[in-house]
Amino acid sequence: MIKFWRVAWHEYTRHVLRKRFLLALLSVPLIIGLMIGMVFFVVSLEMSDEPVGYVDASGLLTDPLPPPEVQAPERQISMQPYESAEAAEAALQAGEVQAYFVLPADYLQTGKAQVFYEGKLRESVTGQFFDFLSVNLLRSQPDEVAARLVQGTLVVVRATESGREASDDSWFNVLLPFFAGIIFIIAMSTSSGYLTQAVVEEKENRTMEIVVTSVSPMQLMGGKIIGDIAIGLTQLIIWGIFVVLGILVGSRYVTWLQGVSLPGSMILLAVVVLIPAFVMFSALTAALGATVTEGREAQQVVGIFTMIVWAPYFFIAVLMEHTNSPLALALSFFPLTAPLTLIMRAGFSDIPTWQVALTSIILVLSAIGSLWLAGRAFRLGMLRYGQRLRLAELFRRGG
């Protein structure tokens, strides 16, 4: 048993201590950070804090309250009163304002206002002006009524079975499983990639023959798979820390991050579905490493496996609209597509317990089957240097 752990530890440290792994580890948060930064940058390009003018014939904005404060990345636009439409037009032409509104005398009756601009009317301009207007229209109301009215409506969708909720404030909770799924698959495929590579390398540099005369194929393969899973978990934990930090820091500035929570049922789902899926995938890639002779060839086949694992993303629309459709069920019960499908469905709806249990059982059985297959592939394929192991040979009796 100690040899098993020695193999696992060796596998783990030889990958985790490499520069390549550290780069891969840091690249994901860096890329996510960069993407968020890009979004902010693009949004801020869209924003402008050039003043907006208004001509108020209705008297609603005489001696106005200041406009409500806006949140990043939106920029505060100052509201500039003008005596007449001509003066406002001149300011627009002179580039002093980016747009101006004209409130007619009968604004309260008609609710109609005019806006004049050159080129493009930014959404933030209308948004901020109407917030400014709302605040002033409601100034006679008690504070809490005014605040409530400015807040607008909030529709909360609640599942009757479990009491799960989704609303405008917590839409990120629906997206969270997607991100979690993506991160999990990236971790799973990169660490399985290391595993296949390690197995092929052992064949290529002929260490395999020495190793199998020191440990049993099962100890070797089991140790490698455990090492591989530990590598994947390391990635996940470190990325998870980045995500949690990101949410904690981000939620101080961005409202939609404030409602983020990861329910316990989601964590339970991850344990019963993702862990056996990870074992299965690792064992399959280990088996693959033992059957092929070149690293390049192994990468191609791992690529095909990974594509199947990603496949549920192509059916996202169907899964979203019909979370219990036959396709959704089929994808949930097919071992390679099960992890992602289940996570996505869990984001949209509640999955019946029996389905989770069935998927979990299927994945556990698949994991055991894959381990058996990997053990066999090791035994048969470990010393074939020039020749590939055929699939039929793996399932033949004896050998």
Partner: protein
């Protein structure tokens, strides 16, 4: 009880018969030579013995019974295809391979230090294996094979890639290990090393064992049909029963006709009053025996065992 017993082993890969019928024993504490031309089935026999391959037929016993996981720790194996982890430091590589033989890492590190000193590799222990020269890797491989002090050592071509100094170093090491009671099974093509080191040999050809025994036992059937004679007179007179006379350094090599013994030749020389300075039965070298046996078992003249 022999340390290794292979009895009538047969192993095929699809249509290819790698080993047809091979039997030999390796006795405790001896250096045993496993010889044969390329493709004869030596490596397959070793892999069957190590339980890497299961034979279709025959019986294998290692250290007194079938191969087990625990016995792997008592065996040191250096395969023909050398293999060390290339991308890690030499020290880490050797300690890991030692730990897979159930050594405590600290103990593995201590013993490794001694061997690295002995093999002039101590200065390189923090280098990656791929940065070492071929000869250094070869020495590192030998250390990996003996680090855990195995009872049985199985080495394929121990001297390939070594310069004369290192060859001598490895030879001394093998003799030292034998002195400590280690059983050594060595596969090689270098017949001079076999003659120097091996107590007994087996010669495998075309998947069958064709010669087996101590060096003397193996040589005996091939000796006696030639003698070396040196006389003060230089040229020798015609001697009945001699088929061929060739120069052999300062002496003459007389190949005898069938049925003629060296004794007959000596008598004839004495009868003819030749003053003999040297009279010696010409023993064939293992090289000569090897070539003769391998050539005589070409398909047309399949030699029986």
């Amino acid at each position: 009880m022999p340390t290794v017993e292979l009895t009538n082993i047969r192993k095929t890969f699809g249509p290819v018969i790698a080993v047809e019928d091979v039997s030999f024993n390796v006795e405790k504490g001896e250096i045993f030579g496993l010889l044969g031309p390329n493709g004869a089935g030596k490596t397959t026999s070793i892999r069957v013995l190590l339980d890497i391959f299961k034979p279709e037929h025959g019986h294998v016993a290692v250290l007194g019974g079938p191969m087990t996981e625990a016995k792997k720790d008592q065996i040191g194996y250096m395969p023909e295809d050398r293999g060390l982890y290339q991308d890690i430091e030499l020290e880490r590589c050797l300690v890991y391979l030692g730990s897979l033989k159930n050594m405590e890492p600290a103990e593995a590190r201590r013993r490794m230090g001694e061997y690295l000193e002995r093999f002039d590799l101590a200065a390189h222990k923090h280098k990656k294996v791929k940065e070492l020269s071929k000869g250094m890797q070869q020495k590192a491989q030998i250390i990996a094979t003996i680090l855990h002090q195995p009872e049985l050592l199985i080495i394929d071509e121990p001297f390939s890639g070594l310069d004369p100094v290192n060859t001598q170093m490895v030879k001394d090491l093998l003799l030292e290990l034998r002195g400590r009671g280690v059983t050594i099974l060595m596969s090689t093509h270098q017949m001079n090393q076999v003659e120097e080191l091996c107590d007994r040999i087996v010669l495998i050809n075309r998947g069958k064992d064709v010669l087996y025994g101590t060096l003397d036992e193996v040589r005996r059937p091939f000796t006696g049909n030639a003698v070396l004679v040196r006389s003060t007179a230089g040229d020798l007179p015609a001697i009945p029963g001699v088929a061929l006379v060739e120069g052999h350094n300062a002496a003459r090599r007389l190949t005898l006709q069938p049925g003629v013994t060296p004794q007959d030749v000596l008598k004839a020389l004495v009868a003819q009053n030749v003053s003999v300075e040297q009279f010696e039965i010409a023993a064939p070298t293992l090289d000569e025996i090897f070539i003769q046996v391998v050539q005589s078992s070409e398909p047309s003249t399949e030699a029986s065992q």
